[in-house]
């Protein structure tokens, strides 16, 4: 459980500077990689079994191998637009160990044959972007980034690009449009970015944590890294845990440990006297699980089998003091706000889901509305250019499926409350007038 690869030195004072990072063995993996052929570096990445840490969990080595060979301009884009509610792992990595990301990025660019790279960081992460810029300056100075890196044939330009606040720019094709200076609207796929991405060129897009893991893989060897975790979810993973827990924060775990160990063991569980009502295992886009599911192993396949997903590795714990309708409304409103509006099912579906949930809360709904909401969710899934709509439909659908009695009770209680209010005004009004001595 205590395999600390990414967080090993995280609170080492000055780790963000080149001198401390180098003293802790930094950039040795880059030197090693540049001695190898790019195909061999790629082979190590493939052997590691590393799956993307941004949300989709796609095999990183395979993604690199999708880039066409040849001498055209190829791009590497690091997705640092960490915006999935509950997720704050990349923030900690960029702020405290920016060189680890830069080193991983340069190694990945070498394996992919990319010569131009960008880190697209969300605009709200001001401190982290400043840290990256400072680290990049040092790395350039030291010859780790730029022309003919460390005397090799490999050159790489790198720009830290700051976003300006839009969840959808974390979606890879929305990110590309945003990086091209447009609204961050997702693109139709195919063509996939590996063939036609940034400026229509072949583009590899990887998450911060994924790239930050690359130096470790090169140091240990892919096969050795693959021994950590489970067979199909190798290695360690940063988990951001928040909500109703006593010790929220980032923890590095070996994939496959029981979820309970994270929620209770590491984060201390809900406050005294409270119980886990439900939890998002992988950000607010993942279908919720309940207290009964806490023994599910925390890895990609086990969570998929449980009907949800590991996503970005963000666990949000909700205790029994929170009404489920309130939670659902919060989730739905977020996706309504962030929907780019390009696809009808998402634009309208997120909006009507919010409207219907508000109706439930204001006592204007009937239990039949739950079926309509379920149907709306079902019609969003798979019918849009990107998965933002699905990302609302899946958790809302799971809440209705798992907490239907509570939704129904909420509907009835709100209706009963309305009936009371409707019945009351005359009497209250009369009473008030009486009190004033008007009648």
């Amino acid at each position: 459980m205590s395999a600390k690869l990414l967080l090993r030195d995280i609170d080492e004072p000055g780790l963000n500077t080149l001198s401390v990072y180098e003293r802790r063995g930094g950039y040795a993996s880059l030197r090693k990689a540049l001695q190898m052929a790019p195909e061999d570096v790629l082979a190590e990445l493939e052997a590691s079994g590393l799956r993307g840490r941004g949300g989709a969990g796609f095999a990183m080595g395979k993604k690199v191998s999708f880039l066409p060979k040849g001498s055209m301009d190829k791009y590497l884009v690091c997705n640092a637009d960490e915006s999935e509610p509950g997720t704050f792992k990349d923030r900690e990595l960029m702020q405290k160990s920016p060189h680890m990301l830069l080193e991983g990025l340069v190694i990945a660019s070498y394996a992919a044959g990319a010569t131009r790279s960008f880190i697209y960081i969300r605009g709200e992460y001001v401190l982290q972007a400043d840290m990256l810029d400072a680290a990049l300056g040092e790395a350039r100075e030291a010859g780790y980034v730029g022309e003919q890196i460390l005397g090799s044939e490999h050159s790489l330009s790198l720009v830290v690009h700051r976003g300006a606040g839009a969840y959808i720019c974390g979606e890879e094709t929305g990110l590309l449009d945003s990086l091209e200076g447009k609204r961050g609207n997702p693109r139709l796929k195919p063509p996939f970015p590996a063939n036609q991405g940034l400026y229509q060129g072949p583009t590899l897009i990887n998450n911060v944590e994924t790239l930050s893991t690359v130096p470790t893989i090169i140091r240990m060897g892919g096969a050795e890294y693959a021994k950590l975790g489970t067979e199909t979810s190798t290695g360690t993973k940063l988990v951001s845990i928040s909500g109703h827990v006593r010790r929220p924060g980032n923890y590095e775990i070996e994939l496959g440990i029981p979820s309970r160990e994270i929620v209770y063991g590491l984060a201390g569980g809900p406050p005294q006297g409270r119980e886990v009502k439900c939890w998002f295992p992988g950000g607010s886009s993942s279908p919720v699980l309940t207290a009964e599911d806490l023994d599910v192993p925390y890895d990609f396949d086990s969570l998929a089998k449980a009907g949800t997903m590991l996503g970005s590795g963000a666990i949000i714990v909700i205790d029994d003091s929170t009404p489920i309708v309130e939670l659902a409304l919060k989730v739905a409103k977020f996706y309504r706000h962030e929907s780019c509006g390009k696809c009808t099912p998402c634009r309208e579906g997120t909006n009507w889901t919010v409207e219907m949930l508000e109706r439930i809360d204001s006592g204007e709904a009937t239990p039949m509305d739950l079926d309509i909401m379920t149907s709306v969710c079902e019609h969003i899934i798979g019918n849009c250019l990107c998965v933002l709509g699905d990302a609302m439909a899946m958790p809302i659908g799971s809440m209705i499926a798992k907490f239907r009695p509570e939704f129904e009770a909420h509907i009835e209680a709100a209706r009963a409350h309305n009936d009371l209010v409707l019945a009351r005004p005359a009497a209250v009004h009369e009473g008030a007038l009486l009190a004033q001595g008007a009648v």
């Binding site: 605009g123 690009h161 929220p248 980032n250």
Partner: protein, 169 residues
């Protein structure tokens, strides 16, 4: 337009294979000068970048951090997404709004997840993350901004150690 702003935008344009990519950094730079993405600011940026003002307006209206109406010069983004709201962010936002009411220097906004759920409930004050905040922190926070002091230094994210201390250092 000032020479500095023009130079900054041109420097951004030089970083990219296609100059249009500089739209976001250029608008952000103009916003810092003008206080918001005013029609004049957008026209100036469009002029330097060689694109139409309409295309930049389309960009400016898409992103939450680009202001398309005049706002106070100090931004206070209160995260009201799930984790923060579970920890009392909605009350925090209301308190912040009420306390800053009538002060034209403040731009208090509810914001979607700012990626700091470990310090929930939290706010980003002119880009500086602070939390966990209690309702009692609101007056001191606003006062720090008004007087130009560092905002609630003890509660700044920058000072927070990683939660995962097992085997740490």
């Amino acid at each position: 337009m000032t020479a500095e702003l023009r130079a900054e935008i041109e420097a951004h344009m030089a970083l990219y294979p296609e100059r249009r990519s500089a739209a976001l950094p250029a608008l952000q730079a103009a916003q810092r000068v003008h206080g918001w993405c005013s029609p004049e600011a957008i026209e100036e940026v469009a002029d330097v970048m060689g694109v139409t003002p309409a295309s930049l307006e389309a960009v400016a209206t898409f992103y939450d951090m680009l202001e398309t109406e005049p706002v106070g010069r100090h931004s206070v983004y209160v995260c009201t997404n799930i984790s923060c709201s579970l920890c009392g962010a909605d009350e925090l936002y209301q308190a912040m709004r009420t306390a800053a009411e009538g002060d034209p220097d403040f731009n208090v906004r509810p914001f979607e997840c700012l990626g700091a759920c470990d310090i929930a409930p939290m706010a980003s004050v002119d880009g500086v993350y602070v939390g966990p905040l209690s309702l009692g922190d609101v007056p001191a926070l606003l006062d720090d901004v008004r007087t130009g002091r560092p905002v609630l230094p003890e509660k700044q994210l920058a000072r927070r150690p990683c939660a995962d201390l097992e085997d740490g250092s």
